[in-house]
Symmetry: D2
Subunit: 295 residues, 4 copies
C-alpha cells in the first residue's frame, strides 16, 4: 500500500517550490497566486504566515510545472522582475527534481547516524548522501554497511585551523547543499558557518535554552528536572543559540540515573534530528531573525 502511494506521489512530482518573505502589505497572496495561475501552474500546496508584530509576510507555495508557461530556467528571473522587486521579497525557488546533497558529520555515537541512514535507504527522503565525515574512525563500519564514503579528519581544538579548510574543500567538491551534525562533538568554525548559513543542522541533547554546552544530561540530572529534551537547530556563531527547528521531550523520574537519561535521550535525539532533516529536504523551513517558520 505504502509503496503504491509513494509511486503515485513520485509521478506527480515535477514541481516548483517558492519560499519568500517580505514586508507585509495588502495583496501579496493575490499577486503571487495570480502569477502562478495566469501562467497555468496548478498550486498543490500553499502556506503563509504573517508576523503581525514585526509586520513580515512569509509564504511557501508549491505548484506543478507541467503546462506551466514560463520555462523552468526562467522562473527565477521572471518572478524577480515581476514580483520580488515590487514587494521587496527575499525569495528562493527549488525544483522537486533536484535532490539536495547532504553531508553527515559524526563522532562516536551511532544512534542518529543509523536513524538517518535507515530513512535514506528506505527511500523516505528525496536526498543524496554522498559522504560521511568524522573526527574519529569509530563509525566507519556503519558507513561501510551503507556503501557511503567515510572521511576521517581528526580535528581537535588545536588543529582545526589546519584541517577544516580541507573539509570545506571536500564539501565544495561534492556540491554539498547542507550539513547534518549527527552528534558531532566538535565546535564548527565561524568560517564554515559563513559558508553554510542556516544550512548546518545540529542536534543538541537538551531542551534548549536549558543546559547549553557540554554534558547536558549530567546537568539535567544535577538540577533534578522531571522532563528532558532534545533540540535540533541551525548552527550559528553563538554556541547552541541558533534558530530552533524542532524540540521534543520525555518524562523522567528520580529513579533515572545519568546513564538512563542518556539512553532515553537518544530516542529523542534521533527522532528530533531526523524530523528537522526531513523538513530541510522538503524546503519547509524559513529562517527570519534567528527563528524558524516551519510549514
Amino acid at each position: 500500500m505504502r509503496l503504491i502511494l509513494h509511486i503515485m506521489e513520485k509521478q506527480n512530482k515535477d514541481t516548483a517550490i517558492l519560499l519568500l518573505h517580505c514586508p507585509d502589505k495588502q495583496g501579496i497572496i493575490a499577486a503571487v497566486t495570480q502569477f502562478i495561475n495566469i501562467n497555468k501552474g496548478n498550486i498543490i500546496r500553499l502556506d503563509q504566515y504573517t508576523d503581525t508584530v514585526q509586520k513580515v509576510f512569509f509564504m511557501r507555495v508549491e505548484w506543478e510545472l507541467e503546462g506551466f508557461m514560463i520555462p523552468k530556467e526562467k522562473i527565477n528571473e521572471y518572478f524577480d522582475t515581476l514580483l520580488a522587486q515590487r514587494y521587496e521579497m527575499a525569495f528562493k525557488i527549488y525544483f522537486s527534481t533536484q535532490k539536495p546533497r547532504m553531508a553527515v558529520f559524526v563522532s562516536k555515537q551511532s544512534h542518529c547516524l543509523y536513524d538517518l541512514l535507515a530513512h535514506y535507504e528506505a527511500g523516505d527522503w528525496d536526498v543524496e548522501i554522498p559522504l560521511i565525515v568524522s573526527n574519529h574512525p569509530d563509525l566507519e563500519h556503519v558507513a561501510k554497511k551503507f556503501n557511503i564514503p567515510y572521511y576521517v579528519f581528526p580535528i581537535t581544538k588545536d588543529n582545526k585551523d589546519e584541517l577544516e579548510p580541507k573539509e570545506l574543500e571536500l564539501l565544495a567538491k561534492e556540491n554539498i547543499d547542507f550539513v547534518v551534525l549527527a552528534r558531532y562533538m566538535q565546535i564548527i568554525s565561524p568560517e564554515m558557518i559563513r559558508r553554510y548559513p542556516n544550512r548546518i543542522i545540529n542536534i543538541h541533547h537538551s531542551f534548549l535554552p536549558a543546559f547549553v554546552g557540554a554534558r547536558p544530561y549530567h546537568a539535567a540530572y544535577e538540577r533534578g528536572v522531571k522532563i528532558i529534551g532534545a533540540t535540533s537547530h541551525y548552527v550559528t556563531e553563538e554556541l547552541d543559540a541558533g534558530p530552533i527547528i524542532r524540540q521534543d521531550v520525555t518524562r523522567i523520574t528520580h529513579k533515572d540515573t545519568v546513564e538512563n537519561l542518556m539512553r532515553k535521550g537518544q530516542d529523542l535525539e534521533k527522532v528530533v534530528l531526523s524530523n528537522a532533516v526531513e523538513k530541510q529536504i522538503a524546503h519547509k523551513i524559513l529562517v527570519y531573525k534567528n527563528k524558524t517558520i516551519i510549514f
Copy 2:
C-alpha cells in the same frame, strides 16, 4: 502586561471572519483576497487548506472592518453574489462584535464547569453564558457563585420526550448559539442535535474511538492501557462518533487504580473541553464530512 495586550487587541477588533469551503479550483484564494483588498479591508489573518484527496478547499480569513467599503449588513449578500455562487461555496460570516451565546449542561461533576467559568470570569473568551442546565440540582451552588441562572430538568431516559422540548424552548428564548456538555450524563435526543448541528460540544472521557460509551475509565483499567485520554467532539446521532475537535492524553502505569484514572482524567477533560470551546468561540473550526478542520 497581559491586560495591556488584551486591551490593545480589543481596540483593534471590529473584524469580519469568513469561513468557507468549496470544490477546489484554481484562483480561489486570489479571488477572495482581491474581494477584500479591493474593498479596502485589511486582512489580519488568513488560513487555508486543500484536501487533495477529496478536492475540497477550506479557508478562514479575518479582516478589519474599519474603512471596508461594503456595509457590514451587506457583506453576506455581496460575497454570496460575487463569489460564493461562482465557486459553489458553503460559507458563513461572523463579526467580532457579536458575542456568541453559550449554554452549559452539567450533571454532578464540577471540574469542567469550574474551568469554563474561570475562563469566562477572567475575560479570556468573547462569549456570553446566560444559563446553565442540569439534570441534577447538585451544582447549583457553583452557578450561584458566578451569578448564572441554573435550570434543573430532571431528565431520564423515560421522561426525555416530555422534558427536552422545554429545554429547547429555553435555549431558543435565550438565543443560544451553541451548547457545551460539561460532563453531562444524559444522551442528547436527535431532535436537539438537529436544532444545533455541529453546535453541541461534548467531552468524552476517553481517547476516542477507544472506549466509546459508559465507564471508559473502568474499561481502560480493564484493558491495561498505558495511556489514557479525553476527546472533545461535536455531538451527532451516533454515540461518541461525531467530528473530533481536540484530544489529549496522559501516561499511566500499572499502579493507577480506576479512581486514579478518574482523577488524572479530569485534568485532561477540563483542558480538552475548554480548548474546544475556545476554538468554537473564535470561529476557528470548520466541519466537513464528520471531520474538523481547525485553524
Copy 3:
C-alpha cells in the same frame, strides 16, 4: 460511582504514613516492615528507592492503624528508638486523620487559584484552606465565592521588611503547614523560607532551568522555542532554583504570539501546580539535596 469509591476509601483511612531517608545498608526494608508487621500494622502501600550514586535509601510506607499495637502518640518515639537511631534515619510520621492546613498566595491572575479551589470544593483533597493572601485586592471576589478569608498585604520590594512579619504572624496563628504561591508575583524573603523549609510551593511559568526570572513567556517567544513549559518547585533562597516537583510542556509554533503563549501556558501552570499540591497533601514528596523523590 465516583462518590461511592470515595466514601469507601475514606472509611478505610485511619493510617500512618512514614517518610524516611538514611544511608543505604542491607536490611532496612526488612527492619521497617518487620517493625510494622510485628506490631500488627497492615501495610497498604510501600515505596522505596535507593540512590546508588549517593548511597542513600528513601522510603514511604503507609499502614492501617486499626489494631496497631503501638498507640498513635507513641509511634514516633518507638520508631526513633528502635530503628531511626540505629540506621541514622531522618524520618517523619503523618496521620491520615490530620488534615494539613494550606495557605494560598495570589496576585492578579486567577487561573491557578480557581483550579485549586475547584479541587478543594469538590472534596478531591484532604486539606484545609483557612486563608488566601495577596499583595493586591483584585481576587477578593474569588475568595468570597468560596467563603475563604482574603487578606491583602500590599507588599512591594520597599515595604517587605515591614509587612512580611505580619504575614508570618498570620500564618503562625492559623497553624499553616505549607504555602502555595499561585502566581504570586513577589519574591519571598529568606526569613519566610527559613520558617517553611521545603514547604512553600511555587509555580514558575517556564520549563526550568530555562527562562529563570521575570517574563519567561516573552523570553521563550524571543528565543523561538518550539515547546513551552511550567514548573512547580519548592522555594529556596536562590530564585527559581529550588527542588522541582512537577513539570509539563506543550508544543507551540511560529504562529503563537506572546499572548498565545500566556494563554496556553496557563493551562499548564494550573495543572502542574495542582499536581504538586496533591502530592504534598498526600505526603508523597521527599526532598534530598535540592532534588525531590516523588512516590
Copy 4:
C-alpha cells in the same frame, strides 16, 4: 564518557533477578529481603507493587551474587522450598550473565528492524540476535549488513500450517527465548503462541484498543482523530488484545494525509517497540491476567 559508565556497570554485573507474584499477605517483602540478606546477597534494586483490588503482590528484586552463600544453581530450589511454597508464589529467577536469545520477524518495512539492530550493534542491550525471519525476501540486505542469518518462510494464510512448524523447529534449534514481530504482517498461529506464552512481542500501529486489525492509519484518517499512537504488546490468541507493554502517541492535524500518518507513525512504532524489547531483556515485565506490571 558513556562507554566508561557502561564498562563500570558491566563489571558489577553478576546478579540474580527474581520476579514473583503471589496472594498478598503481611510480611512477604520482609521474608524475601531477609532470604537475600541472611545469605549475604547485596540488593541493588527492589521494586514491588500490590494490586489492592485483586489482592496480589508483585515483586522484582536484583542482587549481587558475589559472596552470596547459596550456589547459583541451587538458588531456584532453595527459594522454592523456603519461600515460594509457603507464600504460593509464582516466580522466575534470571541471571545477568545469561544473555537472552531473541528472534526478529519482519515483512517489508525496515524502520523497526533498523532501530532494533542499531541498538544491538551499539551494545545497548544484553541480548543475542541469532536470526531474522521473514515472509518476504525484501529485507535480506539489511540482515546482511549486520551479518545476521536471514530466513525466508513465504508464509500465507494457506500454507501456514505447513510452514510454521519449520519456523518453530528453527526457533527451537536456536534456543530462542523470545520473538519480536517488527512489523511482521502475518497472524501468528495459536500453536506458536502456546510455545512462547507472553514471549512474542508485537508492535501494532495504533493506540490500542482503537483501530484493532488491518490498516489502522487509514482508519484513523477516516475517523478524523487528532492524535495517533503505537502499541507494543504480547501476542495472545485474540488479535491485538494481548497485554500492553508500552504506548506512545503523537499529535496530528487535518493537514495530515494517510501517508503522513504512516511516516509519523513509524517514528512511534520503532521507539515503542524498542522500549518494550529493552524492558523484556532487562526482565522488568510481569504479566498477570492480560495486563503488565512494568518495573
